[in-house]
């Protein structure tokens, strides 16, 4: 059997139009509804993660003022915060949320290739979240072994949640991986096979490239976590010794013997490092599109941006052991991983330069999505540069397990992707809802988040230099730490509470604007990519009305000399290209539809 182009069989495609409320909003196969379901579940879970972080920050800033934050709860909150934010918020939101919403629209397709499996994916994701949340209610509570779940510490008495908590965490992760695989197969096949007529791979917007390569990383990296989770469950439940060494627990020797905790670390980080890019690559893609649209310029170095995404994706599989420099590895092993880690900085830096050069001499519209996108460039450069420090073995050793590391990874894969999430939600909100959000409130949200997160993480670098260790419930009295370290901790906590509270601005804005925001129109930013050219806003099930679009150009025709408007949609043929006399063309006055 051969491949049949999408355009050739459009008439015979079955769209599973829902006929009931449950069919439309619960068991729906429309990629846009599934995207909103994925996004809503991820954001709800992320809010739980956010509240947990504020609680453990309370302990650090104002030690022992809240009775219920005992050491066990502290470690459980830290662990669950980490896992929730990395896996259940960011991975799910970028791939399940934005991937689902944007891929079919940007590819000019009516839906994903396998809509039923897509629907199954979101429900399996929900099951994984329920299992994860159930661990708060079982005896012993959720696991408190740190988000890396290192054995044997995670599974020993003395670590909170060492019984049911860790079991539920591992099962939840395994279920999540099933959901991600179902979704991931859909995204990959849709990008490869369901592009509309004329849409070559190199005409795809960078958002699709980022999500596409990140999905491939997810498909190949999550199996490592699955393998580690299965083997650890065997150790926990069936008494094997894959990872568990001979060990004495509370004076009693356990039955385990000879297992290798380092083996777990290798498996975990073989997943864990690509995971950074599973989160980062979609963010890179989305922010590229936001910057280009609001700078009214084509993205600088499109091909280089695509190559960089592919190169980063490939290199991300050969840097994992830089998370394990302190595990006692062979010096040449450390040298190899330090080298690959520094090499990955090259394509990453290319991307940063290209974003800045996209802004250079652009006709920049400083609206909320652009605020967040530019804010991302700042925080990403900052987090990336501290990564260069930690990538070197000799610098990493003294800084390992200090707050410098916490500051680094929060800047690079916490704050930066979250700023892109906000940029992307504000940018595509008019298409998703048909309404505009409140611009002033969104900008206030930006300043509170941007300055607030700097107030949190900048001082953390200094704490790290002082040698303040991460993961400690209380610092106690130590000679090497000045009393001012505690003052800094208090300041950080106040900033964290401020940033946490300011997220209400975002929630209120997007919920309020759903009904009360001004009507947006089909293409308020004057964007060229396909998702803005749908006949309906928000797009209805099937996206494209009677016929699928045909693509005649790439997605970045902005401010083309001689063109009537400062953007030319991808589906505009050359013959219909509206032009004016080049001599009379004034890009500042003509076609500035995007002034919002």
């Amino acid at each position: 059997m051969a491949y049949v182009p999408l355009a050739d069989r459009d008439h015979e495609m079955e769209l599973h139009h829902p006929h009931t409320w449950i069919g439309k909003w619960v068991f729906c196969q429309d990629h846009k509804v599934i995207a909103i379901q994925y996004g809503s579940i991820a954001i709800f879970t992320g809010l739980v993660g956010l509240v947990l972080s504020l609680l453990f920050r309370m302990q650090l800033g104002f030690p022992e003022t809240a009775d219920f934050i005992d050491p066990s709860f502290y470690y459980q909150a830290v662990t669950m915060h980490g896992m929730i934010m990395v896996i259940y918020l960011l991975t799910a939101l970028f791939l399940g949320g934005f991937g689902n919403y944007l891929i079919p629209l940007m590819c000019g397709a009516r839906d994903m290739v396998f809509p039923f499996m897509n629907m199954l994916s979101v429900w399996v994701f929900l099951v994984s979240v329920i299992i994860l949340m159930a661990s708060f209610f079982v005896t012993g509570g959720p696991t408190g072994g740190g988000w890396t779940l290192y054995p044997p510490q995670t599974t020993l008495a003395g670590t909170p949640g060492h019984d049911m908590g860790i079991v539920l965490m591992l099962i939840s992760l395994a279920v999540f991986i099933v959901a991600t695989t179902m979704g991931g197969l859909n995204y990959v096949v849709t990008v490869l096979q369901y592009r509309c007529r004329g849409l070559t791979l190199m005409r795809l917007p960078l958002a699709v490239w980022g999500i596409f390569v990140a999905t491939i990383l997810a498909l190949f990296a999550f199996p490592a976590l699955l393998v580690a989770a299965i083997m650890m469950l065997f150790d926990l439940l069936l008494g094997t010794s894959f990872f568990m060494p001979a060990i004495i627990e509370s004076g009693t020797p356990l039955d385990h013997n000879g297992g290798s905790p380092i083996l777990f670390q290798h498996l975990f980080w073989f997943f864990g490092h690509p995971e950074v890019y599973i989160v980062a690559l979609p963010a890179f893609g989305l922010v590229s599109d936001v910057l280009s649209v609001h700078a009214r310029k084509n993205i600088f170095g499109y091909r280089m941006m695509v190559w960089a995404i592919i190169a980063i994706g490939g290199l991300s599989f050969v840097v994992w052991a830089h998370h394990m420099y302190v595990s006692g590895m062979h010096p040449y092993f450390g040298f190899f991983f330090a080298t690959t880690t520094l090499i990955i900085a090259v394509p990453t830096a290319i991307k940063v330069y290209n974003w800045i050069l996209t802004l250079w001499e652009g006709d920049i519209r400083l609206n909320a999505p652009m605020y967040f996108a530019i804010g991302f460039i700042f925080t990403f450069i900052h987090g990336g540069l501290t990564g260069l420090f930690l990538g070197n073995v000799v610098i990493d050793l003294p800084l390992s397990d200090t707050y410098f590391v916490v500051a680094h990874f929060h800047m690079v894969m916490g704050v930066s992707p979250v700023l892109v999430v906000f940029a992307a939600i504000y940018h595509w909100y008019p298409k998703m809802s048909g309404r505009m959000y409140h611009e002033g409130m969104a900008k206030l949200h930006f300043w509170c988040t941007f300055l607030g997160t700097y107030a949190i993480y900048l001082p953390m670098h200094y704490l790290g230099f002082l040698g303040v260790p991460r993961r400690y419930y209380a610092l106690g009295s130590t000679d090497f730490l000045p009393a001012s370290a505690q003052d800094l901790n208090t300041t950080i906590t106040i900033a964290a509470l401020f940033v946490g509270a300011s997220q209400l601005l975002f929630l209120i804005n997007i919920i309020w604007s759903l009904r009360s925001g001004p009507k947006a129109g089909p293409n308020p930013w004057g964007a060229a990519s396909l998702e803005w050219q749908t006949p309906d806003t928000p797009p209805v099930h099937g996206n494209w009305g009677d016929s699928l679009p045909t693509v005649y150009r790439w997605a970045y025709d902005y401010s083309v000399p001689g063109a009537h408007q400062d953007f030319i949609p991808q589906n505009t043929p050359e013959s219909e290209e509206p032009t004016v006399d080049a001599e009379h063309f004034d890009p500042d006055t003509d076609g500035s539809k995007a002034d919002v």
Partner: protein
């Protein structure tokens, strides 16, 4: 068009429709087959990582190799027969015929069931002989890797059972062509995985 050529094109230069109705870069195969192929790569990663774990764990001093029972050869034969029957069924549907399709397709699945049953019998015999999962990491890996392989076969059998029901309820061979092709591909893949696993388990 090669991948290198694809990613070196300059999209800002050329306007107009490229590639006719067929979007350039699409794979000339049914979507289901593309998805299954990607999935097979994912499964390969899973088994590769188990294998890496096996070799790394083997280096530690408490490892006592398990001498694999001879019945594994018999079981391997069952899985080979299963694959052969699936291939036969695939050849039948490809030649637009339906003669012997039911016997070969359903027979292929049954031989896979016999294989899994055979694996369970070996597990039971090993348990009776005192080769428990907890007594040695080599034993644990044996149960783990054969178990994960059997779980993948069970997944295939679920799809096979749905197609078999359609076949038995009188569906045309033509409408099952893709299912038969995908089942065959999946079975061949799991046979290769099994042969690699068997070779590793037997030689270490």
């Amino acid at each position: 068009m090669s991948f290198f050529k694809t990613i070196t094109t300059k999209p800002w230069e050329k306007k107009g429709v490229i590639g006719g109705l067929d979007p350039e870069g699409a794979i000339n195969a049914p979507n289901e087959k593309v998805a299954l192929s990607v999935f097979l790569v994912v499964i390969s990663v899973v088994f590769s990582l188990f294998t890496v774990g096996y070799f790394l764990r083997m280096e530690l001093p408490d490892w006592q190799p398990l001498s694999e029972p001879g019945q594994l050869w018999f079981n391997t034969g069952l899985l080979v027969l299963s694959s052969v029957l699936f291939q036969w069924a695939r050849n039948i549907v490809n030649s637009e015929s339906s003669k012997h399709l039911t016997a070969t397709f359903i027979g292929g699945g049954f031989f896979a069931i016999f294989f899994i049953t055979g694996q369970l019998v070996i597990w039971s015999n090993l348990q009776d002989a005192g080769y428990y999962m907890t007594s040695n990491p080599a034993n644990a890996f044996y149960y783990l890797m054969t178990g994960v392989h059997a779980v993948h076969l069970l997944g295939g059998l679920w799809v096979w059972s749905k197609s078999s029901i359609k076949l038995l309820s009188g569906s045309e061979a033509k409408s099952l062509k893709l299912s038969v092709e995908l089942c065959t591909l999946y079975w061949h893949f799991l046979l290769i995985v099994w042969i690699v696993l068997f070779a590793i388990l037997s030689n270490t």
